[in-house]
């Protein structure tokens, strides 16, 4: 029988929730890395026992953790005894080293970005927001970081190298969103290994078609009339999350700061599909595992009030690829609920019927095993949830 493993990153550690395919009885393990912020954990599609985790702290900085046994044990890559010393006699310990590339070979990418006050600031690494393992190689993994850049490791997280061409796309105009200037979304295309989509707050969405060497902004159709002096600007938009269905890689769905949008041409242009949502502000967006036109969002009241409208926690589902949305409320609190659901904190499994999971800043992880019609808490009292991913085993 199939099973699922839900990987939960929180403000104070990681938790691993497991169940058989019925998804009714859950085992909760953790906290792993107690006391640290776990921005994101994700498993390799090519080897489900290979997990990567971003462990971070204001005190002690960034640590990359890796598990090769499905989360039972973890280690920082490159710190086993046989890996300790480099040929120069110096310790390696490079798995948490994210150095921005300013080499001549990559064109000396821009080294400053716009700050809140309009001044130019140098790029400065702060943390890894998102880890996206390769679809085919367990040792290859992408890291979206703050200050916004994309890094890649091809040795299982031992070393990281920036795909610096991204910052050449008007990087001097990028600026931090309220949560920092972070690259938080990485979407890989199963049909085209050279194509990668990424999203940055607040710079927008970008695409490469040559494996990360060169990039283009894909923000045509985005309108940010309250955030940018030019609402149709090429870059500067606060994109919150992007998703696609693997079977339809040219169709993308986006939750922007305000607005839910769709592209039918691989990001070449976008059109709004917010329709009858009670608010089109929000963070995560997800697509059903078996229905490419079924999309899920969690409306949040506003950018200044990060909680659900009317204190009612509602997932909204569109079975028409947008515009027509239905509130899913069964099993979710419908009064006095003022949590937020962050951008990496909603995901779907691959079982049939499709399971949907999301975590809240109040520490609840909810799951549905019937396309979202009914919900139940898997666990209620974790630290604030930063990310939720699921592996179907």
């Amino acid at each position: 029988m199939s099973s699922v493993r839900v990987l939960v990153g929180t403000r104070k550690g990681a938790f691993i929730l497991t169940s058989d395919g019925a998804r009714k009885r859950w085992d909760v393990q953790g906290p792993h890395f107690g006391g640290w912020e776990l921005y994101h954990l994700k498993g390799s599609p090519a080897d489900p026992n290979r997990l990567y985790a971003s462990q971070t702290s204001s005190w002690f900085g960034q640590v990359i953790q890796r598990s090769d046994d499905g989360g039972k044990t973890w280690s920082a890559p490159g710190t086993k005894p046989e890996d300790l010393m480099g040929s120069d006699g110096m310790p390696k310990g490079e798995s948490n080293m994210f150095l921005y590339d300013t080499s001549a070979e990559t064109g000396k990418p821009l080294t400053t970005h716009q700050h809140y006050d309009g001044s130019q600031r140098p790029w400065e690494f702060k943390r890894v927001w998102h880890l996206e393992p390769s679809l085919t190689d367990p040792d290859t993994v992408y890291a979206g970081v703050e200050d916004a850049a994309l890094f890649r490791s091809t040795d299982g997280g031992h070393t990281w190298h920036e795909l610096a061409g991204l910052r050449e796309v008007k990087g001097n105009l990028w600026q931090p969103g309220a949560g920092g200037m972070c690259l938080h979304t990485v979407v890989l295309d199963r049909t085209n290994p050279q194509r990668i989509y990424i999203a940055i707050s607040a710079a927008g969405a970008f695409r490469t078609d040559d494996g990360g060497k060169t990039w283009r902004a894909i923000n045509r159709g985005l309108k940010s009339q309250f955030e940018l002096p030019d609402p149709d600007a090429d870059v500067g938009h606060c994109v919150h999350n992007i998703t696609m269905h693997a079977s339809r890689p040219n169709v993308l769905f986006m939750q922007k700061h305000w607005d839910v949008l769709r592209s039918d041409d691989a990001g070449g242009s976008w059109h709004e599909i917010s329709g009858n949502l009670p608010s089109d502000f929000g963070f995560p967006i997800a697509v059903h595992a078996h229905e490419p036109n079924t999309v899920y969002v969690v409306p949040i009241k506003s950018d200044s009030e990060h909680y659900p409208p009317e204190g009612k926690l509602r997932v909204y589902r569109s079975r028409t690829g947008g515009n027509e949305w239905k509130a899913l409320t069964e099993g979710l609190p419908q009064e006095n609920c003022y949590v937020n659901i962050l951008r990496d904190a909603m995901t779907v499994d691959q079982l049939d019927p499709c399971g949907i999971y999301f975590g809240t800043t109040g520490g609840q992880v909810y799951g549905s095993i019937d396309d979202g019609d009914n919900w139940a808490p898997i666990v209620r009292d974790l630290p604030a949830v930063l990310s939720v991913e699921v592996q179907t085993l």
């Binding site: 005190w59 002690f60 640590v63 920082a76 710190t79 310990g93 798995s95 948490n96 150095l99």
Partner: protein, 98 residues
């Protein structure tokens, strides 16, 4: 042997209990102690000081003999009590809320 006390989170990361004791070759300075610590525990690289600049992380402090040495030169010799091992060199997570 130089005795080093790590904050709890770094003890967990380095997989050690209690104090760490290390040989330090040459003059015993902050830099030499941290070089030796990172050589034995490479998972600590980047967690106490920057990988490249070796600048102390903002929320990390160095205490020894009831003094805060965080702002001293990394090449200043440490007190004799640290060199002889009668007192430990403390690496501390600064009080910063949270």
């Amino acid at each position: 042997m130089i005795r080093i006390i790590l904050p709890q989170h770094l003890r967990t990361l380095a997989r050690v209990n209690g104090e760490v004791a290390l040989e330090v070759n040459g003059p015993v300075t902050q830099r030499a102690v941290l070089d030796a610590l990172e050589a034995h525990y490479p998972m600590l690289r980047g967690t106490i000081r920057d990988h490249v600049t070796h600048k102390r992380r903002a929320f990390v402090r160095f205490f020894a003999c009831e003094q805060d040495l965080s702002h001293e030169s990394p090449d200043m010799p440490l007190p004799d009590a640290i060199v002889t091992g009668s007192e430990p060199f403390l690496i501390v997570g600064a009080m910063a809320g949270g």
